[in-house]
Amino acid sequence: MKVTFKIWRQDSPDSKGELKTYETDGLTEDMSFLEALDHLNEKLVLKNEKVVAFEYDCREGICGQCGVFINGRAHGPHDHMTTCQLHMRSFKDGDTITVEPWQAGAFPIVKDLVVDRTAFDRIVEQGAYITAKTGTAPEANSIPVPKEVSDAAMDMAACIGCGACVATCKNASAALFTSAKINHLNKLPQGKAEQHTRLLDMTKQMEVEGFGSCTFTAACEVECPAEISISSIAEMNARYVKAKIFG
């Protein structure tokens, strides 16, 4: 299988980037997209050229590291999928594939396809945890949690912080990510005690980082590998009003 990669190359955060074209042969349909990039990098090494920098870790769709913009979509042409789960069989022999880093003011480019997503970490630092020291794992049934509540919290906890929601959003809004982190804990009895400060602090940080505001295009829920719904953002809005009144 042969494809033409057009890949964003940028040496450093301050340098000017550009799309560079690489004709790549010897790929197979069974290769994951990241393996195809590995294959390209091996060729570049043999030619004594700089390899393409891109992030990855687990390669099984759960770590959220491998976010890149492929052919105009976050994580490529499929809905709800990470880049590592995308395979070359999703492309045709002879295709041109454009690969760009996430674009958002709050996600500055580090090098090539790698962006700095620590803005997410700083939002998490503002309260995506409970401050009580919990010690070792407690008895699971000591705090009864209704099934529908634990399921709903688990749906929110599924967020892997990949940044696709921000990357695909025309406003670079981090509302889906932040709402998932807030709703996850605010739904559970363990998170209730700090629900209002958590919400106000995390949403404030979201704004400080320079993320835009949500206009409900719903692009984020289509690209989210964890299938988190935009109703999560609506829930955060409702909780914001509650926090402002009772917080």
Partner: protein, 219 residues
Amino acid sequence: MSIFFRKFIIAATGLFLCIFLIVHLSANSLLLLPEASARGLYNAYSTTLRENPLITAVSYLLYLSIIFHVIYAAIITIKNRKSKGTGYRVNHKQENSTWASQNMGFLGVFILLFIVVHLVNFWARVKLGIGESVGLDVDGNTDVYEITYTLFHNIYYVLFYILLMIPLGFHLHHGLKSAFKTLGFYHKKGLRVLAKISLVYAFVMSIGFGVIPLIVYFK
């Protein structure tokens, strides 16, 4: 001022304007009656509204809603553009979102243009007395029907009033369903129902307002 507050203002003013449109379209449907009864009813209705102090208060709320909706939309659009930074070389956003949802500001500019022209055509003449003076009908009411009738016998205005209902329809469809989410309505099934209601609402409003000038033209 927080992101939330700015969005709440846009949603709340937008919803108020959506309610206003229902009242406005109901009144406009009087224009569809045969001329003899339409003129009297339409003029009597508009005179009653103008003379009611409660309606006058609501009309100020309406002006403020339009002004705040536009100002905050402009602020948010500018801030969001800054957040996004440089765009992608290739971006297939039509695969994950509707065109209207990506272009609310663009659609809004057309609607604002329409509102300005519409206010010059009616509000400026009737309320401010600017432009050609308006006569009275046989009952002594200001003859707003005559303004409408004359305006909609000019094909250029008819086309303008029809074509500008297209951006209105798209704007209302995305705006109405999103306003509820912005204001914190998050029940999933309820949101699906609201999405359908928004679609029907947008259709009824844009086709309703768009078809009336055409019918008056052929009257």
